[in-house]
């Protein structure tokens, strides 16, 4: 009984159907709009006449009859098409081989969508033409044309025999085209679909389908009617006029009618519809409509049969009519993909970084500053701790010290901070931001005097990554007078820090020298007691000349050296629970060394009339060698193996090898270790000009930026197979002395020209901030391992325009309301095919800010509409060497959320201050397409899945009690659980649990210039899993207590 009701309602409930109820509603709305515009003289009586017309009653009867017949086992459907397609593919494979097109999925989808649409439309036209030209088919097609009034239900007015012919046509065409598309594109061959229906057809059905059978004579302009048939043109096709009745035979495209000379443009609506009684072979009732055409077709046969029977009277002739029994029409299938239409875009503008007197940024967008006071109070050495208080910023911990920060902003993939723009004093900080965006370098947080985080629109002034945001570290400026500081501290795990700087400046010259050193024996331990810690030394020298006339020239030189015994290998959940700070034997040789040098020359000029120009020439050079475990010789996925925590089978044996408990006995089990030796150069010239003008009523700040940048990365990776024997690793390089094999030897370069223009127009309380950025990037990739004569990948040049804008309203001095939108982008690394898409997104933001002396609060809502989210393959993300640097598309993703922060400073008596800060961030994400990816963090993605390593909630609070003589601080940072791979919440045992970290700091001035201080981080001693990447569970750093002495002079 249910099936009966379903079948009868299907024409209105099935998205595939022309009369799907949203299509009826849409057509109704359009018709209503047309009626309101054209006033065609319709009356209620006229409408009632149409609805109660006998022709309409037959429409309904034919609809019901067809649905009921459809429940009987006859008809051709997807079964026939599939058979044809599957054989078609096999024939093509067999005769022409399998083409290996490697086309991007959008090409496959577009080609398949177009091919199917054109084939369907053309085949419908041809069959319709046959129905009008061949008398035997016209007999059945008449049933549709005998309609004297047109309603959307007339669509269903069709004889079952004609319906069968159309189904056969559909199966044939769908089968053949699908075969061709599958042969070319294999599993990517599927058309763009909405609600399970091919999108092009659905869109056309929704907008104009039902109007074709109506009395709303909606015409298109003649040039358009030559390409796309209008509802009016189809109504002409239903005219009683015999000439018009055989015109406009197409369904959507007018192309075929043009080719066959049957196109008629619309002029005036027909006066009558239907067929004259002399031609019609049926009356206005179901039985007549079904049987009439059969009788007409059978008439000549009956005549012939009569003759035959008379001729062969003695012999009985039996005609067995076997109805064709083909497979049943398919049940409606749910499409695996769903897509929703994107929200409407808005044009708005960028914002300018302006600081209010209280030191907080007053910008038309979300920005956050961590001040020198806070950085000094907590003596942060780990950037992750600094950023934990900034809403919208997520960090994925790796080594526990912040040596390898993975920073993401607003859902941008945190992997190696590759999707945010990192700056030091406004100059790109990453070793090769264009050629190798996932290459990381992070200076010592401990010597920075400010950390600025710009989210959304603010990032477009810097680039190249403009989707999530930017982090700018401010180094110590040259002091105005003689000043200096020495700071020495020590803590658990033989951690020690020494920091010293000194400088002075006079009228024309200024100088600053700074050196800082941090070391630790590490809080993890290896089975053989090998070292797990690090040491890091940095130095900076600044010199400045002010010759006068508003000019300034400053030279900054820096050098860094780090050695760390880090590896990518983590732990299984069981081993983590037993001892989170252990490391497996296989990770013991891990050793990273890098050296960096930096030279920057900045020329600042201030002219009269509010014009400032700052030009910086910079050169950075970084060399890095990291020796570590890559994996097993047979390519067993380390992340999956460790996360599975196997206790049986071959998998448990592999785990035992990693621990050093089991010897390697076969070639597959060997541990592949290797060195990744890389050299990075980044150099460029950037210039920023700002022109401030302020009139009585209008003010303007125009900013122009230009940057010419080049970077190069040389990679030389090798590897060798190590064995485990008797609880120890055996180095093949020692005896018999096997040379490692080189696996990668390549050079990637990028040259980029970036320019931005940004205007802030201040009209009283309204500020308008339009802006745009353009980047032209040329990338080359050279694989030195390719044989002579083998071609290299062609250089690829890409250009992108990123417009944006914001609006700021300042109704009160302390209150800002702002909203903005901008197009953001993250470039593709060189070496990728020209067809690989960069990450692109439209970001929208709206918020409000209250800013007055002593209090500051901000609430921002944001939505990032990723047109294409990408994941870049890095070894630290668990990718293989072969996929290194490849970009993987995550398709359309929405990331949205809220960021709130508040800071208040309550003045207390006795010279005490009580600064309080709190922040909260909510981030939600949603993949909008389903796909399977080789990028480990995506994996098998379903629609509605959330992004990995992006916690839903993040909250932080800091409180301090400040006095001239002492300073006490308390901080707490909490985040909710994170998924290890794209999927749905809640988090499970193989994800990352929620984490609460508590910090405290206290310092006391014991004598003029001298203070003693102590800091504690992770006071509760949490030992939670903070990441499963690269290969296994990694812990937070345990409770750390540092105590130190500081001497300050001048300043």
């Amino acid at each position: 009984m249910d099936t009966l009701v379903d079948a009868l309602l299907a024409p209105f409930l099935e998205p595939l159907s022309r009369t799907w109820w949203p299509a009826l509603l849409a057509s109704g709305a359009i018709a209503l709009g047309w009626w309101a515009w054209r006033r065609p003289g319709w009356t209620l009586a006229g409408a009632r006449q149409v609805l109660t017309h006998p022709s309409t009653a037959l429409d309904v009867q034919l609809l019901l009859g067809r649905q009921l017949l459809g429940l009987l086992p006859w008809g051709v459907g997807a079964g026939g098409a599939w058979l044809l397609a599957s054989h078609g593919v096999r024939v093509l494979d067999g005769h022409l081989g399998r083409p290996d097109l490697q086309a991007p999925s959008w090409v496959a989808t577009l080609a398949t969508s177009l091919a199917l649409f054109l084939a369907w439309d053309a085949s419908r036209f041809l069959l319709h033409l046959a129905c009008h030209r061949l008398p035997v088919l016209w007999a059945f097609h008449q049933v549709h044309h005998s309609a004297e009034v047109l309603t959307p239900l007339t669509f269903h007015r069709i004889h079952p025999v004609e319906s069968l012919l159309y189904q056969l046509r559909g199966a044939l065409v769908t089968g053949l085209v699908t075969a061709l598309c599958f042969w070319l594109f294999r599993v990517q061959a599927s058309p763009l679909e909405l609600a399970g229906v091919p999108a092009i057809s659905l869109a056309l059905n929704l907008v104009s389908g039902n109007l074709r059978h109506s009395h709303a004579f909606i015409r298109f302009p003649a040039p358009i009617e030559r390409w796309l048939l209008s509802p009016a043109q189809h109504q002409l096709h239903h005219a009683a006029d015999p000439v018009l009745a055989h015109a406009n035979l197409g369904t959507w495209l007018a192309l075929w009618d043009r080719l066959f000379g049957t196109l008629v443009l619309s002029q005036a609506p027909p006066t009558r519809f239907g067929l004259p009684p002399s031609i019609r072979n049926h009356d206005h009732d179901l039985l007549s409509a079904w049987l009439g055409p059969l009788r007409q077709v059978a008439a000549p046969l009956r005549l012939a049969f009569g003759h035959l029977r008379r001729l062969l009277a003695p012999t009985a002739i039996l005609l067995a009519a076997l109805p064709a029994r083909a497979q049943e029409a398919p049940a409606e299938e749910e499409a695996p993909q769903e897509e929703e239409s994107p929200p409407p875009t808005e044009e708005a503008g960028l914002e300018v970084i302006v600081y209010a007197p209280d030191g907080n940024p007053r910008v038309a967008g979300s920005a956050h500053v961590v001040s020198e006071e806070v950085l000094e109070r907590f003596e942060y050495d780990n950037i992750e701790q600094v950023l934990s208080q900034v809403p919208g910023v997520t960090t994925r911990s790796e080594d526990g010290f912040g040596l390898r920060p993975n920073i993401g902003i607003r859902g941008a993939n945190a992997e190696r901070s590759a999707k945010i723009t990192l700056l030091e004093d406004g100059v790109l900080l990453a070793p090769a931001p264009y050629a190798a965006p996932a290459a990381y370098y992070f200076p010592m947080t401990g010597r920075m005097v400010g950390v600025e985080v710009f989210k959304g629109p603010a990032a477009t002034r810097h680039g190249p990554h403009t989707v999530g945001g930017a982090v700018n570290l401010r180094t110590r400026p040259i002091p105005d007078g003689p000043a200096g500081e020495v700071d020495v501290a020590a803590g658990r795990f033989w951690t020690a820090r020494a920091h010293a700087w000194g400088g002075t400046s006079g009228e024309h010259l200024g100088l600053l020298a700074e050196v800082s050193h941090l070391r630790s024996a590490g809080f993890k331990h290896l089975p053989g007691g090998e070292p797990t810690g690090f040491d890091h030394t940095e130095g900076m020298l600044k010199g400045r000349v002010r010759p006068g006339w508003g000019q300034e020239l400053e030279l900054k030189l820096g050098a860094t050296d780090e050695t760390s015994h880090e590896d990518y290998l983590g732990l299984t959940a069981t081993d983590f629970a037993a001892d989170p700070t252990q490391r497996y034997l296989a990770s013991s040789p891990g050793l990273m060394r890098y050296q960096r040098s930096q030279a920057e020359l900045a020329w600042t000029a201030k002219a009269a009339g509010g014009l400032q120009v700052r030009t910086v020439a910079y050169h950075h050079y970084l060399t890095r060698r990291w020796f570590k475990l890559n994996g097993f010789a047979d390519g067993t996925d380390l992340h999956d193996l460790i996360q599975a925590d196997p206790t049986g089978g071959t998998a448990a044996l592999y785990l035992a090898i990693l621990r050093g408990e089991e010897d390697t006995t076969t070639a597959e089990q060997a541990l592949v270790m290797g060195t990744n030796d890389r050299r990075y150069h980044a150099f460029g010239l950037q210039s920023l000009a700002r022109w401030d003008r302020q009139g009585d009523r209008v003010g303007s700040t125009l900013e122009l930026g230009l940057r010419l940048h080049g970077d190069v990365v040389d990679r030389l990776h090798d590897e060798a197979a190590w064995q485990v024997q008797d609880d120890a690793l055996v180095d093949p390089g020692v005896d018999p002395g096997v040379e490692p094999t080189i696996t990668t030897d390549s050079t990637e370069t990028a040259q980029a020209l970036a320019a931005h223009v940004h205007e802030e127009l201040r009209l009283g309380m309204l500020h308008l901030l339009p802006g745009a950025r353009v980047e032209v990037i040329r990338g080359t990739s050279t694989d030195h391992l390719r044989a002579e004569g083998e071609p290299q990948v062609d250089p690829v040049t890409r250009a992108v325009l990123l417009p944006g804008g914001a609006v700021l309203l300042r109704p009160l001095d302390a209150l800002d309301l702002f909203a903005g939108a901008h197009r953001g982008f993250s470039p593709v690394a060189p070496g990728e095919d020209a067809q690989v898409q960069p990450e692109l997104a439209w970001s929208y933001e709206a918020g409000t800010r209250i800013s007055r002396p002593g209090a500051h609060a901000e609430l921002v809502g944001f939505l990032v509409d990723y047109i294409n989210l990408t994941g870049d393959c890095t070894l630290s993300g668990g990718c293989s060497n072969d996929d290194l640097g490849r970009s993987f598309s995550g398709g359309k993703v929405w990331v949205w959320g809220l960021e709130a922060s508040a800071a208040v400073e309550a003045p207390l008596p006795a010279g005490l201050r009580l600064p309080l800060e709190a922040s909260y961030g909510l981030t939600r994400s949603r993949f909008r397409t389903a796909f399977v990816s080789d990028f480990p963090e995506f994996g098998d993605v379903d629609v509605g899945d959330s992004l990995p390593y992006s916690p839903t909630h993040q909250a932080g609070a800091r409180a301090a009690l400040v006095h001239d003589r002492f300073d006490l601080g308390l901080g707490a940072a909490w985040r909710s659980g994170m998924l290890d791979e794209a999927g749905t919440y809640p988090v499970t045992g193989t994800d990352v649990p929620a984490l609460l970290l508590l910090d405290a700091a206290a310092s006391v001035q014991v004598h003029k210039g001298w203070s003693l201080y102590a800091t504690g981080t992770n006071l509760a001693g949490e030992q939670a899993i903070v990441s499963w990447r690269p290969y296994g569970a990694r812990p937070t750093a345990p409770l750390q207590v540092m105590a130190g002495v500081e001497w300050k002079a001048g300043g």
Partner: protein
């Protein structure tokens, strides 16, 4: 007009009362629309895997009996070796049927690594077996849970039955470094080997029984109904297809191409990496793999992939697979010398077997994969449909 409405009502009544079987029974399995899929899934257990497991348990029982009369040295060795060979041959048919609990937990849906508990090649280690022989702890309650798969199973029994008086460990490892082996002496080693082998064989039988119980119980039902851990019929069908792929990744690539040196085994050819090196049963194992493949493909006496392909209109494909499989069986059965010997002396013969197996797996990877993955888009309704 009234007659037409009456006719419609009559048709509605006819349709409402029609037997359900007339129109139901067409399953949608993602791409494949066939009633045979459900039958195939339901028959894999009772028609293919369970009979093979039952036969294996018989052979495993015979192995236990033969080992009971083996003295650990030459007394009764030949009989024990023959029983082991029969059990291994029976097991090799099941190697191609790693679906669900038998399959790898890392790569298969519902995988629980139970195959590794019975036979874990190529993860084998003769030295570990010898260490356990010397230690003599096989009667401990946690012996099997506390040790790794390379120290027990059919591969361990092979090592015991074909080893000579020496052990396979280097001098700096136990049981040489601590003198335990020498302390046992030849007689002690033999006695230990005999006792150890009996315990190992009993465990093999037990694990085989566990696997059979899973197939006869919860897993067999899950596969037949495409229930948990399978999300739908398509996933269950894919799991069976993946099991067939053993012929490609293991039989062809690891057992034939790798020793021949066509896969990167680290040298020009690696004859010592063949399966069954000590027992010389490499070729027999490949014959058994092909037999197991054929059984799973045909679904035994029930519905198999051949029936599915015929129902889908691709009988020629089914015939081709069966013909190629039979041809490969012919080549495999014609091999009389141990594989490692052939790789060195007559690699062309091994290559011929490799190519014969490749003919089967090429279809598996090619046309059969097409049939599993091809999907037909729905056409939106247009005028006159």
């Amino acid at each position: 007009m009234a007659a037409s409405w009456l006719a419609l009502a009559g048709l509605a009544g006819l349709v409402a009362l029609r037997p359900v079987a007339c129109t139901d029974g067409q399953d949608d399995v993602g791409a494949i629309t066939s009633a045979q899929v459900a039958d195939l899934l339901a028959d894999v257990g009772p028609e293919v895997v369970e009979p093979a497991l039952a036969d294996f348990l018989v052979q495993a029982g015979a192995l236990e009996a033969a080992l009971a009369t083996w003295d650990g040295a030459d007394g009764g060795r030949a009989e024990a070796q023959a029983a082991w060979t029969a059990a291994m041959t029976s097991w090799q048919r099941l190697e191609v049927m790693q679906i669900g609990p038998a399959a790898s937990s890392l790569t298969a849906v519902g995988g629980e690594d139970l195959r590794d508990e019975i036979y874990s090649w190529p993860t084998v280690n003769g030295c570990r077996v010898d260490q356990e022989t010397a230690e003599g702890n096989w009667d401990d309650a946690d012996f099997f849970t506390g040790n790794l798969v390379n120290s027990y199973g059919l591969d361990a029994i092979e090592h015991l039955l074909w080893a000579d008086a020496d052990n396979a460990c280097p001098s700096q490892s136990t049981p040489n470094s601590d003198g335990a082996w020498d302390a046992l002496g030849e007689d002690g080693v033999a006695a230990n080997r005999a006792a150890f082998s009996r315990v190992l064989a009993a465990e093999v039988t037990r694990q085989g029984g566990v696997l059979l119980a899973r197939w006869q119980g919860d897993f067999g039902q899950a596969l037949a109904e495409a229930g948990s851990p399978f999300e739908d019929e398509q996933q269950a069908l894919n799991a069976v297809y993946d099991a067939l792929f053993y012929l490609e990744t293991m039989t062809k690539d690891r057992k034939l191409a790798w020793p021949l040196g066509s896969e990167d085994c680290g040298a020009e050819s690696c004859p010592d990496d063949v399966e069954g090196l000590a027992s010389g049963t490499g070729a027999a194992s490949i014959v058994a793999n092909l037999e197991g493949f054929r059984a799973l493909f045909t679904g035994g006496e029930g519905t198999g992939w051949d029936d599915l392909l015929i129902d889908l209109g691709h009988q020629d494909l089914s015939d081709q697979v069966l013909a190629d499989t039979d041809a490969a069986l012919l080549v495999a059965r014609g091999i009389s010398a141990p594989l490692d010997q052939l790789v060195t002396e007559d690699p062309a013969q091994v290559q011929a077997l490799h190519d014969a197996v490749k003919a089967v797996t090429d279809v598996l990877k090619g046309d059969l994969a097409t049939i599993l993955n091809l999907q037909i888009p729905d056409e939106a309704s247009g005028d006159n449909d």
